[in-house]
Amino acid sequence: MRIDPSLRRKILSTISPHELLLCYQCGECTTVCPVAKESLSLFHPRKIIEMANLGIRKVVEDDMIWRCTTCYECVEYCPQGVNFVSIILALRNIAREEGKLPKDVRKEIDQIVKTGFILPVTGLVRRQREGLGLPLLEFTESDELKAILDSKKREDEGGKG
């Protein structure tokens, strides 16, 4: 297991430090987690916090962090008030910066940035909306979206923003 202090520093700089430092490894998060109930070898919240806290690189390189559904059960039960979902999101942001992102997630993000929505308006939906007397909601403000995201998108792609 490779320990990388700079990874730990990076994690602590993106979330409020107490999220990690207050965890005393009781494992309540893991007990109430619906995904961990399916398979501890696929998803283990307590271990993810432990690895993040030590700065073990495997935590951002492994597929495990992508299996949190963000259901927030653990957040409601944690005796220390640790927000595990916030840790997961920080780890995923770091993994993405390092070029690791599930393929289908990339497709969805591109679709939102390009068109404003996850789904296109199909002919069927257009007919259904017309039939029900619902407005078509044609989105014509892609320029606005571009204006607020442009610098950000370039940073993600390795540019200077």
Binding site: V35, F43, D63, E76, E108, I112, L132, P135, A147
Partner: protein, 290 residues
């Protein structure tokens, strides 16, 4: 007539327009008008956009909230995902001045500003808090008597409780109270709060579906349907049954709460669109009024 700004979201407006229609019609019966606005984008997706880049997520969400603020009325969502995304952004922007200032610098480029003047609500919340169970009961013309449902409130209707401030995060009861107000019976069951699994469909399909399958197996043959307040949970519970991963037993119909409300409140069943479900859902129409 009370008016709110409608935030329809991607899945409802672009895959399940029948849900949108049912929600609008049900609200109108109680003198509530939900107004469309063509400027909104995806909320955006609280799971993947936030996993990809939290700052991008916040910029897009803040723009949507700022649009609604121009009309100074609550922003009403029809989906748990949109509810959490927008409400979480709203919470963060209100609480943290530094974040708010930096987001407002970005919004300035398009002539918008987050002021924090309005609230973000789910239509379920409007039905429970603004209308109330008694008023709903009084307007029901086709009570769903003789039908028994299980509710799946879905995670982001009430969690994280610090941000959502709605219902009990460990033992939610509001959705089932609203189903009872339509005349139906509701089954209480263990694991009511367990996630449908949809949020990890894009990263681990098998694991995602096994979460949904577990719930379907638990409820199958015990109730006439499972009631949700979120189109993502709806899609997931239908998908897992359409794939027929397991043989045997009757399929379990899935209903979006406002389809049932519209049905009980007297909206024409054909218009609600139960025929568009992938798992036969029209079966209850014959039961009603027997």
């Amino acid at each position: 007539m009370k008016t709110f700004i409608l935030y329809p979201g991607c899945l409802i407006s672009r895959r399940y327009p029948g849900f949108e229609f049912s929600a609008l019609e049900s609200a109108r019966i109680f003198g509530i008008e939900l107004l469309h606005n063509g400027s909104f984008t995806c909320c955006p997706d609280p799971v993947w956009m936030r996993s990809y880049n939290r700052d991008m997520w916040l910029r897009i969400a803040a723009r949507n909230i700022a649009i609604a603020e121009e009309d100074a009325t609550s922003l009403v969502t029809l989906c748990n995902g949109c509810f959490e995304s927008l409400k979480s952004a709203h919470y963060l922007l209100k609480k943290d001045e530094k974040t708010r200032d930096s987001i407002n610098q970005v919004l300035k480029k398009i002539g918008k500003e987050f002021k924090g003047r309005i609230e973000v609500k789910h239509l379920v919340q409007i039905f429970y808090e603004d209308i109330g169970e008694d008023a709903i009961r009084k307007k029901v013309v086709s009570p769903l008597e003789g039908l028994r449902f299980a509710v799946h409130p879905g995670c982001h209707l009430m969690r994280p409780s610090e941000e959502m401030e709605f219902d009990d995060p460990r033992n939610p009861v509001i959705l089932e109270k609203l189903v009872r107000a339509l005349g139906a019976d509701v089954l209480d069951y263990e694991d009511k709060t367990a996630c449908c699994g949809l949020p990890i469909f894009n990263s681990d399909r098998e694991l995602s579906l096994s979460l949904a399958q577990k719930k379907i197996n638990l409820l199958k043959d015990k109730v006439q349907g499972i009631v949700v307040s979120c189109p993502s949970c709806f899609m997931q519970f239908e998908t897992v049954q359409t794939l027929k991963r397991e043989e045997g037993g009757n399929p379990l119909p899935v209903y979006y709460y406002f389809e049932l409300a519209a049905l009980a409140l007297g909206v024409e069943p054909e218009k609600i669109g139960l025929k568009n479900h992938r798992v036969n859902a029209e079966i209850i129409v014959e039961e009603i009024g027997k």
